[in-house]
């Protein structure tokens, strides 16, 4: 989830305060000229936001002349609360926000928070799969920006690479040895649906969901760590407290490059892919500038730039970018599992409570 993504970004940065300093000095250094076109863009803080400020925003300003003011957003879910309160108060801190798909749908259901986009002004969105352009009753409200994969990871010194997620259920190999994410919507259920059931369809009925959760319960004896913060899983893999589990593909690649015993694998069922979308605040007066920015990030060259500089997976087909096979491999892979976002929201309380009961054995 984006929430944990944020934590990781925070960890990866050498000092978040350095980012704040940079922001402050940036603002002092560039006094706003009245006629300059500008746009406020929010992104997850730390390393992530700094990469945006160092590489993506300057390229956008160079291409369009629009100045970007970077706004720090902690993650998706918390930011939604902030934006909800700010909208009610009549003044929002940003024009564009970066929401994970479930938060975006939630914002759409809360209503009056996101303005529909003028897709005619965003022709390059045609590069993206239609799935990444989200429409609700009011029109298209979110265009995909970047994505990340939470992958199967193992310690190659301890076990051989599994071909399927199903191998994690084998207690003779993995007893008390796995690290899985503790959140009900962090995609273990999607993995189970893809591995043992009919994929996303399984979420359609309560019985299907119960069956998924029962299958997850069978994994419990093999899980040594149900992590909530990404750093827990990182430490546990490094320390050998766990020898496999679920973790972010790009960070796993970084850890492996640093010499730690970790390998990120795409088993035959694939790995869950989540993504963030640009959404325009309903109170923003910068819809034209926002459309230009979204158009810019939808271009294959910008997608490739973000993959190289931020480590996110491109949302356009890799063949239209100039990413090498190796570069693409370090940020993504195939096949990918698409999470059952709608079900997680429609049956929120039911899934959360059933999942918590499964974990608690209650």
């Amino acid at each position: 989830m984006s929430h944990f993504k944020m934590n990781r970004r925070k960890l990866l940065t050498t000092a978040t305060s350095a980012g704040g300093l940079a922001l402050a000095s940036g603002m002092i250094g560039t006094p706003l000229i009245a006629q300059t076109r500008s746009l406020r863009v929010a992104s997850y803080g730390g390393y992530f936001e700094n990469s945006f400020k160092d590489h993506v925003f300057p390229a956008f300003t160079a291409a369009t002349g629009i100045e970007v003011e970077s706004v720090t957003q902690p993650n998706s879910a918390d930011w939604l609360v902030t934006m909800q309160q700010a909208t009610a108060a009549g003044s929002v801190p940003t024009d564009l926000s970066l929401y994970a798909r479930d938060t975006m749908i939630k914002a759409s259901r809360l209503g009056d928070l996101i303005a529909p986009l003028d897709m005619d002004a965003i022709p390059d969105a045609a590069n993206l799969d239609g799935y990444f352009i989200f429409e609700d009753g009011t029109g298209p409200i979110g265009v995909g920006a970047l994505s990340w994969v939470s992958a199967m990871v193992i310690n190659p010194d301890e076990v051989t690479a599994p071909e399927s997620w199903a191998e994690f259920w084998d207690s003779s190999v993995y007893e008390s040895s796995l690290g899985m994410s503790k959140n009900f919507n962090s995609q273990l259920l999607d993995i189970i649906a893809a591995t043992f059931f009919d994929g996303e369809e399984t979420f359609a009925t309560d019985e299907g969901i119960v069956a998924l959760i029962e299958k997850a319960a069978e994994l419990k004896p093999n899980v040594a760590l149900w992590w909530t913060a990404e750093s827990q899983m990182e430490q546990s893999m490094k320390n050998g407290d766990v020898i496999g589990g679920q973790y972010y593909h790009d960070v796993a690649q970084l850890m492996a490059a640093d010499g730690f015993a970790i390998r990120s694998i795409f088993p035959k069922e694939g790995n869950p892919q989540d993504y963030g979308s640009w959404c325009l605040s309903s109170l923003s007066e910068k819809s034209e500038e926002a459309a230009e920015f979204i158009n810019f990030t939808s271009q294959p060259s910008t997608q490739a730039l973000m993959s190289r500089m931020i480590g996110t997976a491109p949302l356009v087909d890799v063949s239209v970018t100039d990413l090498t096979e190796e570069e693409f491999g370090s940020v993504s892979g195939s096949p990918v599992i698409r999470p059952a976002y709608e079900a997680y929201l429609d049956k929120e309380t039911f899934i959360k409570e059933s999942w918590d009961r499964m974990l608690a054995g209650a």
Binding site: A77, S176, D356, A360, A362
Partner: protein, 322 residues
């Protein structure tokens, strides 16, 4: 919060020579406002209504409280999940506070027998350790209990793991959840949770017990000794009765303090054994944005703590009356 409430009382009553009656009234109002408003807000929110797939709205429903006792799916299904979390909150807090007081008691007793100078060095050291935050302490124990950098490593290198495997104790540890097929493991476990919690409050225990033990009149114990009582007898019939109230008071204070532990539980307790405090945070800040249910759980935790304090107060009064 009881400490705050108690502190508020003397402020509210006018000082003997009140030169600024309006000033103290204003002060009482500000303190009252700061103390009371957050509580009222939490209580009001706890009656709010969750909207599936979105946020929540102001309402007046008991659904959140009902969910705490029988689960969200009642009456189709009943679950005691949330009661179980409250049970674990109480369980950890009781064991850890008792453990801390039990181990701090002999230490503090011996401390009060030392020279003045040695006592102050120890006390300064203990006071300084209070500045360590929960996060820092948990991090330390996390490293100490880790497979490659802590105790399990020591077990393996010293041959203790092999010895355990030869003698069959290893299988017992696996059953207790303290080992995986390769080595012993202490994370996640009740052992690590309770250990860290009592470590966390141990300095408080010493500081809470110190005044009572240092005031203990040495002539009492000396008199008992001259009358022929052995050290054990002196302990049970002279020292313990004198400091009984302090022991109970310290345990209670630490217990209430530990009820709300968050970091320790998140890091060291498996999800099946996590507590209400963790669930409150997950409800309010997690992806469900279910602030009303979080607030309801917080209110129940508060009422539980208040209940325990009231019982303790009553027991103390009763023993004093005798």
């Amino acid at each position: 919060m009881t400490a705050v409430d108690n502190a508020k009382a003397p402020l509210a009553t006018p000082a003997p020579r009140a030169r600024w009656p309006l000033g103290s009234l204003a002060m009482a109002l500000v303190v009252g406002f700061l103390c009371v408003t957050p509580f009222i807000l939490v209580i009001v929110i706890s009656f709010g209504q969750k909207i599936e797939g979105a946020g929540w709205e102001w309402a007046f429903t008991f659904a959140n409280y009902q969910r705490f006792f029988v689960g969200a799916l009642w009456p189709d299904e009943v679950t005691f999940l949330h009661l179980q979390r409250l049970y674990y909150a109480l369980y950890y807090a009781v064991l850890a506070s008792v453990l801390a007081v039990l181990t701090a008691f002999p230490f503090t007793y011996l401390l009060t027998r030392l020279s003045r100078r040695a006592q102050s060095i120890w006390l300064v050291f203990i006071l300084a350790s209070l500045s360590l935050s929960e996060v820092f302490i948990v991090m330390g124990w996390d490293v100490l209990l880790s497979n490659r950098s802590g105790l399990p490593m020591l077990f393996e290198v010293s041959g203790a793991t092999d010895w355990l495997k030869r003698t069959g104790w290893f299988e017992v540890l696996r059953e207790w959840g303290l080992a995986n097929p390769r080595n012993v493991k202490f994370k996640t476990s009740e052992f690590a949770t309770i250990l860290t919690m009592s470590y966390l409050v141990w300095p408080y225990a010493v500081i809470l017990l110190y005044p009572a033990l240092s005031r203990l009149d040495p002539s009492l114990t000396e008199a008992a000794r001259t009358m022929g009582a052995g050290p054990a007898r002196v302990m049970t019939s002279v020292i313990l009765p004198t400091v009984k109230l302090s022991l109970i008071g310290a345990t209670l204070l630490l217990f209430v303090f530990l009820l709300g532990s968050y970091v320790t539980v998140v890091v060291f307790a498996e999800p099946a054994k996590q507590t209400t405090a963790v669930a409150v945070y997950e409800s309010v800040r997690g992806s469900t944005l279910d602030a009303p249910f979080g607030a309801a759980q917080a209110v129940i935790l508060l009422v539980t703590a208040a209940g325990f304090l009231a019982i303790a107060q009553w027991l103390t009064k009763r023993s004093e009356a005798r």
